[in-house]
Amino acid sequence: MGNYYQPEIECASREQIRAWQDERLVKQVKHVYDNVPYYRKKMEEKGVTPDDIKSTADLHKLPFITKDDLRDAYPYGLVAVPLKDCVRIHSTSGTTGRRVVAFYTQHDIDLWDDCCARAIMAAGGTNEDVVHVSYGFGLFTGGAGLNGGSHKVGALTIPMSSGNTDRQIQFMIDLESTIICCTPSYAAFLGESIAERGLKDQLKLKSGIFGAEAWTQEMRRDIENSLGIKAYDIYGLTEISGPGVAFECEAQTGMHINEDHFIAEIIDPETGEVLPEGEKGELVFTSITKEAFPLLRYRTKDICVLNREKCSCGRTHVKMSKPMGRSDDMLIVKGVNVFPSQIETVLLNKGYAANYQIIVDRVNNSDQIEVKVEMTPEMFSDSLTEITGKEKELVNALKAMLGIYAKVTLVAPKTIARSEGKAVRIIDNRKLY
């Protein structure tokens, strides 16, 4: 049996979870309708009133809310409590348009910290651990979330933030950090840096909690080997709260969604119809306990599958698969849907580093895709024939995965920037909009 932060909630019966959701949803819809004119207008446009929502079975009657709504309503248009009751904001690292700003009351932060505490304990954390938080602190939710969760667990928390790799490693060794929390690309970079310095033996790390960007099973194994840990996935988004909306348990067969706070639905991204249990589609969240910034039916753009099968860890909350792609990140090249995660899988399978860059261009009205990959000592040879042969293999494997030809360019090691926040892997030079 597992290590739980709130066993009575995390292992509650399905009936109990459903009862919490029904009651909280009804209350939340009323709260939003009464206090957020933007939402009231959207509901009126759809002809729905709070009286129509009697339980989670009525959830589908509510309108969706999207990132565009968040931008339209920027900055205060979706805040549901007086500003004097808000204590903090966080903001997404959006690449285009207005930033999204999310608001929190102290109560909201407490519940968010609880979610992160569940994640840390699921990764084996206790009050005897030293939790090394290398997510960025600041507007990004990563640092604050795991930091707060670690406090709730009662672990000794090191608010490292990102950057300064030498200092990170020094603290990790001197303070005997046992759990590391950061983005997977930064974890991979730390692993490489530690290997270069020959310091792996001096680490006391046992597990790591990694999220905020896409990563693959292969990357998980790489990180686990280089840091000597078990690597756990965590999921979240600023709009809903931050990391900890869902987290992985020791079974590592999906992430348990904290259903006492968030109701998950899977919809067809084209039609908006709710899809039957187990089908792949866009993940939609309704936050039922948030006070300051409650979102009803927020479209995450993440494509995944929900799984309600009983989990060996004892938790009863539904599990979501690792997102299989983001409709945001999804590139349409020559009419084919391309997800960066597919490219990453191929690279790792073929022995290349997980660091890569995708460049899309339009030449003579035809889309071209190029994948820049860093050369590794293992893939290098004095023979050009051998290198170009391996390059050709990679091109063929990419073609098999993507269905289209992608040019491969081998570049020198460490020339593709590693991001300490969200990795910027795609450069789309097509002027399509």
Binding site: F380, D382, L384, I387, T409, V411, A412
Partner: protein
């Protein structure tokens, strides 16, 4: 009877080779022979130096990807047809010659070539039996 060649991965962009030469001059590494094989995107620089182990460490420390390979250093008498007869010998014995390049010296009556074959043992045997002179790393250092 082989010599050590260092191969380095370099990107095809302006200044890349100069950066590399700069590292060598700063570390007093004496480059004795050099060859570059290229594609439009990258190249493999192959070099013969006096102290291959030191040079390989310097190159790796500078962040380059490098490997050390055993290659043949073949003495070619300065007479018409001698290179052809050696290449014929290699071809007739089904030895795969991957690439070859000149090893410049000041000697007047012998030229030296670096040859990368896939089967070193077999090539050494065939060439020696046919009176072709191969030189070792130590002998190489004495050549100027």
């Amino acid at each position: 009877m082989t010599v050590k060649q260092i191969s380095v991965f370099i990107e095809n962009r302006p200044g890349r080779l100069a950066e590399f030469a700069d590292i060598f001059s700063k570390n007093n590494i004496n480059m004795r022979a050099m060859n570059i094989a290229e594609t439009p995107d990258f190249g493999v620089l192959r070099i013969i130096v006096d102290d291959p182990f030191n040079a390989a460490n310097v190159i790796k420390d500078a962040g380059y990807i490098a490997s050390v390979t055993n290659v043949l250093a073949v003495a070619i008498p300065d007479q018409p047809g001698s290179l052809l007869s050696i290449l014929t010998l290699i071809g007739e014995n089904d030895i795969n010659l991957e690439y070859t390049y000149a090893f410049p010296t000041r000697e007047k009556d012998t030229a030296y070539m670096i040859m990368r074959v896939l089967e070193n043992e077999k090539a050494i045997q065939v060439l020696s039996q046919n009176g072709v002179k191969l030189i070792s790393q130590e002998e190489l250092l004495k050549l100027y």
